[in-house]
Symmetry: C2
Subunit: 154 residues, 2 copies
């Protein structure tokens, strides 16, 4: 059982990074879990969007292997927390590593989305990509706590 979280580059907001780390710690007490900050395009501005996405896609692909890939995608499937928990439980039981992928500020390249086993949306609302990372981690932590039948405060 292994869970990975991939995203290009480090979360820049120090405050959000601290929250991210606190959820990662809590998850990894229950399940082996790694956050991998993949290659990031540096020194390019938004006019080079295609190039940035390409560099980021390559970086992400290096760590996707034959894992079960769940991409965050705003047009993906929405689930409530109970559904998400059952879904995640089944995927973990299946034995393959479960790898979540969150894009940078431009989102994910089409070919990464195509390779996803599942595309998940956290909300109808759009959150910043850095906040999305935090929300995803909290929701995964909540799911694992539901699966383990532990009390987890609303």
């Amino acid at each position: 059982m292994l869970m990975k979280f991939l995203w290009p580059g480090k979360t820049r907001s120090a405050e959000l990074r601290a929250v991210q780390e606190s959820y990662r710690r809590r998850i990894s007490r229950q399940i082996p879990c790694r956050i991998i900050e993949t290659a990031e395009a540096k020194g390019l501005d938004e006019r080079s969007a295609g190039k940035i996405m390409e560099i980021e896609a390559k970086g992400l692909e290096k760590h996707m292997k034959d894992d079960y890939i769940i991409c965050l995608f705003d047009k993906g499937v929405e689930m409530d927390s109970a559904e998400f928990s059952r879904f995640l439980g089944k995927r973990l039981d299946a034995g393959r590593a479960v790898t979540f992928v969150v894009g940078g500020f431009l989102g994910l390249a089409e070919r990464i989305l195509e390779r996803a086993s599942f595309r998940l949306s956290l909300s109808k609302m759009t959150f910043s990509h850095e906040l999305s990372r935090v929300i995803l981690l909290e929701q995964v932590y909540r799911s694992i706590s539901i699966l383990k039948g532990r009390h987890y405060a609303k």
Copy 2:
């Protein structure tokens, strides 16, 4: 134009409190904005849920006045960010203070929900009440930036 955010007690997670504060600062550069930590029930455990909710409701009511009240509620209305932004813009233009109310770990008392002008859900997923505060602030910040036509990173 005034926006208020009410919730019982201080956000306990230091990490989430730091994120909360960073969004509050950013919002208040654009619109007068206050976070008010209302009275909290202390020294009671979950068996006294009714009593806790009552104490918290009284604390919240003190600051609700005749504001336009938006309560976070998991069975409330979901909107995407563009809809939410238009909705918030209209409410702010109407001139009454717009007051968001987020419950504690037990949620909000029925009579607070009944007094709400609008009940908003952030997602089908359930987030911790402390994370919900942060998500709400981010989304309000995003909305104001959309309204002011500023660039705000995805």
